[in-house]
Amino acid sequence: MHEKGWKTRLFSLVNNGLLLVVGLATIFPIYYTVILSFTDPVEYYQRSLILWPRVWTLDAYKHLLSNGLFVSSISVSVFLATIGTLLSLLVTGGMAYALSRKRLRFRKAMMIMVLLTFLFTPGLVPLYLVVRNLGLIDSVWSLILPSLTSAWYVLLMKGFFDSIPVSLEEAAMIDGSNDIGVFWRIILPLSLPALVAFGLFFAVGYWNTYFNALMFINDQKMWPLQVLLQNMLVDPTTMGSGNGGGFAFQVNRQVPTETLKMAAVVIATVPIMLVYPFLQKHFAKGAMVGSVKE
């Protein structure tokens, strides 16, 4: 890029300026969240606007971490985000790879079968029945198996595999590998950046598992983090007002303070956010998904 006129400089200035505005607009509310999580509730209620707390306090965090279930819920969530992600990658990858090989018989039938699920979403009750009949209620697998993959991911990953030249595969076949061998030794290593990108998608999904856990998990010790936090934070007083006419507000629990809620948000989102920078360099190349075509 050789031109160095004032036009270019002006363009860069405006462009960078706009991006700064976008960046600040996203960061400010988040800054506010973090700040509030370290503020004393009394100060929060007394002052109208807090941009910097007078006194920093860790009380909200201490309160959250003192919950006996915290450790178990963290381990459930970590299990989901690791094992679940790996399984998802394998299942999605295997299927997407098979579907990307054009010589495969019944490929289109399978494709249509996958695509249709994109549009027809099964209801909650039927899914519950399936999970129950498989005996998965109260098992950590009920949080992994029903969300292993989706038409969306299969499709994107297939797009990525489409871009890998068939010649590579043929060379390996001549060396005596079978399809699984090719997939494992050649395709997967080649796709590392894509796998990282997909891995992050899956990991975020598993980390944020909430609704399925509500439905399929009764045992508190099996709760993932998000459910635990929601349960600690939700204001139970709104409940029971549903159809019973709202008489029995029998709740003895305090509504959690705003600062406590913010601390919960920080705890729930920071770990998964921290994963991102480590993967960033793979990312640029990784998310090419489906974009590179012959």
Partner: protein, 516 residues
């Protein structure tokens, strides 16, 4: 990538769909009807093997207890049972119960929050659950005097199909909780009528009750939902229906009194007595406003005199939250919130063998005996509490074993007003005042003709109609729509054949339940 051919070939589509259909039929066949938890070996005889009972119920505690809890073990020992309790957290109970009912996946003791649950009503008619009437007489504690009313009112077609969970009639419900210290600071009396109440709110706004020289007070922290009781004050009835002299029910949603109630609220809104965000606040935001100690009145059940009163005190040490006893309308008719003496019901599906049904009733019989009932809430004397001057004082062990609010106490409530007016840590003077107020509330009898009535048309159409009216009310109150729009809406609803059908069915349900 070269695009593929447009037509995948009809046969391919067929193949795919057939393949799917075949395999899915196989799987769903084992999915449908049958299902359910194995009901274990039939009920044991006394002294024999402990009977295992699967129970599902609400739990408001932050940490649920399990079968390693000493109190749980003690309960199992005393009732010769092996308990398998599934706790539902209140944030999700409604959805989960609905899904469980719809899937037919019912535990041996199934909890449903409301008798009006439409699915439950259908299932009751289909005979999914045991009729307990013939067994009940054998269990003296279930026939305690205090429980008579709840058994009577939960009858379905004259039969006891459910085990109601006791909850006191008075002390719960949304009703004004007022900053007593602000009243005192301005030298005001506790309001007894709606007019007085209005003047108090106005004074809170104008006379700087917190004395900081700024007009930062919010007289009444409320959202539209928290003011539903105003309509009941004007209509002189509990619930959404009023009993007419000719023994028919009429919906208060379309009554003239409701129009006046709305205008009362509108006037208060125009005078700035509610928060600016009145229309959009969620309950937690209302409570947050209360907590900021800037609000003079909030709507809460009586135990919040301490549950919420205490955190307000942290912000403003002078704060003192006091529930109102009642409010009188312009006709001099008093109103206070009250309800049927239970909250939620337990049901036993027919797949449970009869011997076990008896065992389950035995278990509840113990839970409602004085000894068992107190144990579930307070724990064991000497271990979890000591009696000093006739009062139970909790020991440190109580917190470790999680007695008190939540857990076992949520499974079977304490048969006492304390359920609604007391709270852990509530100081004596607050408690004593609550006792006085609840006693005063009990002198106010407001008819509740629509309690425990069920109509199919009501379930199908009423929620949408009432939502329309409630939305319109908010629009009129906040000045987004003129009163004429409201009148027009009410007129159309009055002429709506659906509304006529609902009214007719409700009247019929009333007459069948109470006039036979």
């Amino acid at each position: 990538m070269k695009t593929m051919k447009l037509k995948p070939g009809k046969s391919l589509v067929k193949t795919a769909s057939l393949l799917i259909l075949a395999s899915s039929l196989l799987l769903s066949a084992c999915g449908g009807g049958s299902g359910g938890t194995a009901s274990g070996s039939g009920g044991g005889k006394d002294g024999g093997e402990p009977t295992s009972i699967t129970i599902q119920t609400l739990n408001y505690a932050t940490e649920f207890i399990d079968n390693t809890n000493p109190l749980w073990k003690e309960l199992e020992k005393r009732t010769n049972t092996k308990l398998n309790i599934t706790w539902l957290s209140p944030s999700t109970a409604e959805e989960k119960i609905n899904v469980m009912l719809a899937s037919g996946d019912l535990p041996e003791v199934t909890f449903v929050e409301s008798m009006q649950n439409p699915q439950l009503q259908k299932m009751l008619k289909q005979g999914v659950f045991w009729d307990l009437t013939p067994f009940l007489k054998d269990y003296p504690n279930l026939n305690r005097e205090e429980l008579k009313e709840m058994w009577e009112i939960t009858k379905v077609d004259g039969k006891n199909m459910v085990i109601p969970r006791y909850y006191p009639s008075y002390g719960g419900g949304v009703f004004p909780m007022i900053r007593k210290d602000w009243l005192d600071a301005l030298g005001l009396e506790t309001p007894k009528t709606l007019d007085e109440f209005y003047n108090v709110l106005k004074a809170f706004k104008e006379k700087d009750p917190n004395g900081n020289g700024q007009a930062d007070e919010i007289p009444y922290a409320a959202n539209p939902g928290a003011l539903a009781y105003i309509y009941n004050i004007f209509n002189e009835t509990q619930g959404g229906w009023k009993l007419e002299p000719d023994n028919t029910l009429s919906p208060i949603i379309t009554s003239d009194a409701s129009r006046e109630a709305m205008l009362w609220i509108k006037k208060a809104y125009d005078d700035g007595l509610f928060p600016k965000d009145f229309a959009i606040m969620k309950f937690s935001q209302v409570m947050d406003t209360m907590r900021s100690a800037k609000a003079g009145v909030g709507g809460m059940s009586m135990n919040h005199a301490w549950v919420t009163g205490q955190p307000v005190k942290e912000v403003d040490p002078k704060a003192d939250l006091m529930p109102l006893a009642y409010l009188e309308n312009a006709n001099g008719v008093k109103y206070t919130p009250s309800g049927s003496p239970y909250y939620g019901v337990y049901l036993i599906p027919k797949k449970v063998p009869e011997a076990k049904v008896k065992k389950i009733l035995e278990f509840f019989d113990y839970g409602y005996s004085v000894e068992g009932n107190e144990m579930l809430t307070y724990g064991l004397e000497g271990v979890h509490y000591k009696v000093e001057n006739g009062k139970k004082v909790a020991t440190p062990q109580a917190a470790i074993d999680k007695t008190g609010d939540g857990n076992l106490n949520n499974m079977i409530h304490l048969v006492s007003d304390d359920m609604a007016i007391s709270a852990v840590g509530m100081p004596d003077e607050v408690y004593q005042r609550n006792v006085e107020i609840v006693t005063e509330r009990k002198t106010v009898k407001v008819p509740n003709p629509s309690a425990e009535l069920y109509s199919e048309a009501y379930n199908k159409y009423y929620p949408e109609i009432s939502k329309k009216v409630e939305d319109m009310r908010v629009m009129v109150i906040t000045g987004k729509e003129p009163i004429e729009a409201y009148d027009q809406l009410i007129e159309t609803i009055k002429n709506d054949p659906k509304m006529a059908e609902i009214t007719e069915e409700m009247t019929k349900a009333y007459q069948e339940k109470y006039l036979k």
